[in-house]
């Protein structure tokens, strides 16, 4: 009897880390990004939820492109998409991005990686708000790689990003 209790307690303990998984803690703040689909990590039921701090834990870096929707070059801080994809263990080929204004687009993961897509969180030191096309904006290094500045690719630069679904 005592052994059964111990075993179930162990199992409970064991499951707890399983539900939290390897380094993917649960968001403490407001969820900015929800990732579903073929991913390795989850921290909620079948999905991965990121708040700002979680995203920042993935490693911030800076990108200073000029964008087709702004004038001049702006300094963006954010997470390289490749880091995000690695962190979440994405195994699919397509990322379905959904934005707050119901905009949906399917981005090939190969594009995100190869074009060095960037998940911007702040611009010129100011956190991106909804009205500034935040809180999350997929941008590309258009200044550094002008060949990416094609109208047909502009659709991938999803702002007001809310969720990603990996297929």
């Amino acid at each position: 009897m005592r052994y059964v209790l111990l075993l179930s307690a162990l199992a409970l303990f064991a499951s707890v880390p399983a539900s939290t998984d390897a380094g993917m803690p649960q968001p403490t703040d407001e969820t900015l990004l929800t990732v579903t689909g073929k991913i390795r990590e989850t921290n909620a039921e079948g999905r991965l939820e990121f708040d700002r701090s979680l995203l920042m834990q993935l490693g911030l870096s800076k990108l200073t492109p000029s964008t087709p929707w702004t004038d001049g070059e702006r300094a963006f801080m954010g997470v390289p998409f490749a880091s995000l994809l690695d962190a979440i263990g994405a195994t699919g080929t397509i990322v379905r991005a959904v934005a707050a204004n119901d905009y949906v687009v399917d981005i090939p993961i190969s594009n995100l990686r190869e074009a060095n897509a960037f998940l911007a969180m702040s611009m010129d030191g100011t956190q991106l708000r909804l009205r500034d096309k935040g809180p999350l904006w997929i941008i590309y290094p258009w200044s550094q790689r002008p060949e990416l500045n094609r109208i047909e690719l502009h659709g991938y630069a999803v702002w007001q990003l809310q969720s990603l679904h990996i297929e």
Partner: protein, 788 residues
């Protein structure tokens, strides 16, 4: 003209190219412009405006729901909507995506206004409660006021883009049209290029055809030339051989071309020259080579070689040209042979003979041997030629050459010097006896009759022989001496040979001298007539004289006619002499008449040569007329040989003379070739028995006695008188008298004497004979009556 066309061509081409390039540039430029204008207005502009209008609607709807439908929409959601709408505003005026809107609408003015308004109502929205009243309407009005503004931007964009679009379409159409024009330009340019290409092709074809034609022509010429032409390259491969060369050297060019040539190089013996020429680039002088092909005759070629140099100056090939000079060489050899050989008999001619003689003498001199020259003359060649014709004569000459050749060794030279004269050179003679044997052998070869044109002819030969060093060491000397010897052989009657002796030379010199002197003898009064009396046996009275010519040569003294008459007969001198004798005799007769003497007829000898050379009858009659002598006091003595040649003319002449009662005597009867029929034909009235018959009387040769008797009998039966010549003895005299001979003449009576010494014959009627001879005849001497 052609140049003008060319210039036009190039001008057109340049123009077309220019248009083409310009069209391309312009088109590209236009396209870019068009592109940028398209870029200017893209679907994204419409999207952004639409999205802005949509979010406005959603915001307005969210507001209505928040306030109107209590709590159905969360405030957060309303704020979110508000923010989302807000976010769509800067897009319309910032960034590259806004270009179309900014340029074509008043967005740059309107949007900041809207953003300013948004900023104003933001705190109101944030503090809005769900059951708000007036704030709700305020906010709503403001929001609603945004709609027409956005609408305006939208419409402006639409209209402008419409016109822009249409202008773009127009531009595109225009661009299209221009593009077409420029494409046409390009097409024209292309066509011109193609035309030029064709023209060039055509020209190239023509040039190639002309080159081909020229090459064919050249090949034809090379093949047509009767020369052997071939070429070898640096690797000694045969690259060219013309038809003539291939045929002549039996090369099959198709199989041998571009291969090495173990068999079939035209002139293999000259191959080594090719290498030299390839290295040095110099052409050697032409070479004569002898090419022996296995099945055909040898042919001689004149071969010359030339290097073929390419544009860089390097020797690429060697061309060999060969001319077949075999014919020429043969002809040359033939001419050479003809120059030195007799055409008919193919024996060496005089030229070659002299040359060989010279070299033979040199050899003989060195080896101390004897060289003999035999001159050969065919005795009856003239007769054969006259009788049977020249063709027969030629056959006979060839036959004679064969006969002579058969008696000689191969090293002996037999030459034909001309006409019927041949000559032999024999070397390495030990002694004269050898030569003698040779001459005998040759003469014997001619003993057999020759069969000429079905007739058998006997022809004998005469040979004259001289030998070196005895008879001379120089060719001309030896030849002259052989000639003398031949002359002597002929003078001896032919069919014999004579070795040269000094005497011959002397004799011929003598004869030649005589001939020369004879010409002047008449003028120099060296000639005199002597007269030999003839006595009639019946009454022993003088019945005539024979006039005999005597020559008193200043150097040689008295020369008998037997020596100089033959000489005169060989040339025209005989005529002069004959006329002289006749004239002088007639003059003498007249002189005697003028002295009161009644001379008996005078007999003159006529030579056959005279009859041959002049109209004798005319000459005689003329002389009689000139001198005034009665014709019946003239007797003409002719020899039998006269009657042989040209009998008609002679007959006529004699008839003419006889008709005038001039006596015709046949002299030396019995010694010649005459036939008895002549006696009837010709008007002869006296026959003179040759002294050889008379002399044989005292020798008591029975046969000859009979002949003499027969002659006398025959003559008498023909009513002719008979005179015996050369009576020297009493026995002859009496025998002839017994036989009935009519007249006698001879030393028994008297020699021939000059006119002055004939007094005793003429003035006295008796015969002044020598008492020793005619001892018991004296008493029989009678006074000579005048009647004959």
């Amino acid at each position: 003209m052609k140049r003008l066309i060319r210039v036009g061509y190039y001008g057109l081409l340049a123009m077309a190219l220019g248009i083409f390039a310009f069209s391309i540039a312009h088109t590209l430029h236009d396209i870019r412009l068009g592109q940028s204008s398209v870029v200017k207005v893209t679907a994204l502009n419409y999207w952004n405006i639409s999205q802005a209008r949509l979010e406005l609607e959603r915001t307005t709807s969210a507001l209505d729901s928040y306030v109107g439908e209590n709590g159905r929409v969360a405030k957060d959601d309303l704020i979110d909507r508000f923010d989302i709408f807000w976010s769509r505003l800067p897009i319309l005026i910032e960034g590259s995506q806004s270009h179309g809107i900014v340029e074509l609408t008043d967005a740059e003015v309107i949007i900041p206004g809207i953003i300013a308004s948004m900023k104003e109502i933001e705190p109101q929205i944030l503090s809005l409660v769900s059951n708000a009243g007036d704030e709700y309407f305020e906010i709503r009005d403001v929001l609603l006021s945004f709609a027409p503004l956005l609408q305006r931007i939208y419409l402006d964009l639409h209209h402008t883009s419409e016109t822009g679009f249409s202008s773009l379409t127009y531009e595109m159409a225009d661009l299209y049209a221009r593009h077409v024009v420029y494409l046409i330009g390009a097409l024209v340019c292309g066509l011109i290029l193609i035309l030029m290409l064709f023209s060039e092709m055509h020209r190239a074809l023509r040039a190639r055809r002309m080159a081909h034609d020229a090459r064919v022509e050249l090949e034809t010429v090379i093949n047509a030339m009767p020369l052997s032409i071939d070429a070898v390259d640096r690797e000694h491969r045969l690259t060219l051989c013309n038809d003539y060369g291939c045929k002549a050297h039996m090369i099959d060019i198709r199989s041998k071309e571009n291969q090495h040539h173990p068999v079939g190089c035209p002139f293999p013996m000259l191959e080594h020259l090719n290498q030299k020429i390839l290295e040095s680039g110099e052409a050697p002088s032409p070479v004569e080579v002898n090419c022996n092909q296995p099945d055909t005759d040898d042919r001689i070629w004149l071969v010359s070689k030339q290097p073929v140099v390419d544009s860089a100056g390097k020797v690429k090939k060697v061309v060999t040209v060969g001319v077949d000079i075999t014919e020429r060489k043969n002809t040359e050899a033939k001419i050479k042979r003809m120059a030195q050989h007799d055409a008919l008999t193919d024996l060496p001619n005089r030229n070659l003979f002299r040359r060989r003689l010279a070299s033979a003498l040199v050899r003989a001199n060195k080896n101390r041997t004897i060289v003999a020259i035999l001159y050969i003359d065919l005795d009856s060649f003239k007769a054969i030629n006259d009788e049977l014709g020249h063709e027969a004569g030629d056959h006979f000459l060839i036959h004679a050459a064969h006969l002579m050749r058969s008696c000689l060794r191969p090293c002996d030279t037999l030459a034909r010097l001309g006409g019927d004269e041949f000559a032999i050179i024999r070397e390495d003679i030990g002694d004269a006896h050898e030569t003698d044997l040779l001459a005998e052998r040759i003469a014997a070869a001619f003993a057999e009759p020759a069969d000429i044109d079905g007739q058998r002819w006997y022809s004998t030969i005469s040979l004259g022989i001289s030998q070196s060093p005895r008879d001379g060491t120089e060719p001309s000397e030896l030849l002259r001496h052989a000639d003398f010897a031949l002359y002597a052989a002929k003078a001896a009657g032919g069919n014999t040979w004579r070795f040269f002796s000094r005497r011959m030379q002397t004799r011929q010199h003598y004869q030649h001298e005589l001939q020369q002197d004879l010409r002047h003898a008449i003028a120099n009064n060296e000639l005199t007539l002597h007269y030999q009396p003839k006595v009639r046996l019946s009454d022993q009275r003088l019945c005539g004289f024979e006039a005999l010519l005597r020559w008193n040569h200043p150097k040689h003294g008295l020369i008998p006619p037997s020596d100089f008459i033959p000489i005169a007969e060989t040339c025209d001198l005989i005529l002069k002499l004959g006329q002289f004798v006749l004239h002088k005799a007639c003059v003498q007769m007249i002189a005697w008449q003028n002295e009161g003497i009644d001379p008996p007829p005078i007999a003159i000898n006529l030579s056959a040569a005279q009859f041959a050379r002049e109209p004798v009858a005319t000459m005689v009659l003329q002389t009689l007329e000139e001198t005034g002598l009665r014709p019946d006091l003239l007797e003409l003595e002719v020899t039998e040989s006269i009657l042989l040649a040209k009998s008609d003319t002679v007959l006529e002449a004699l008839n003419t003379l006889r008709a005038l009662n001039i006596g015709i005597s046949l002299d030396d009867f019995g010694t010649g070739y005459s036939s008895l029929s002549y006696l009837q034909r010709f008007p002869i009235n006296k026959i003179k028995i040759d002294k050889s018959f008379v002399q044989s009387i005292s020798q008591e040769n029975g046969g000859d006695l009979a002949i003499v008797r027969a002659i006398i009998a025959m003559a008498h039966s023909l009513d002719m008188k008979v005179v015996a010549e050369g009576v020297e003895t009493e026995v002859q005299y009496s025998t002839l008298e017994n036989m009935g001979c009519d007249e006698i003449q001879g030393f028994y009576l008297s020699r021939a004497e000059p006119a002055e010494q004939l007094d005793r014959w003429l003035r006295f009627d008796s015969i002044p004979v020598d008492t020793r001879r005619l001892s018991n005849r004296r008493q029989h001497l009678k006074v000579v009556s005048r009647e004959p």
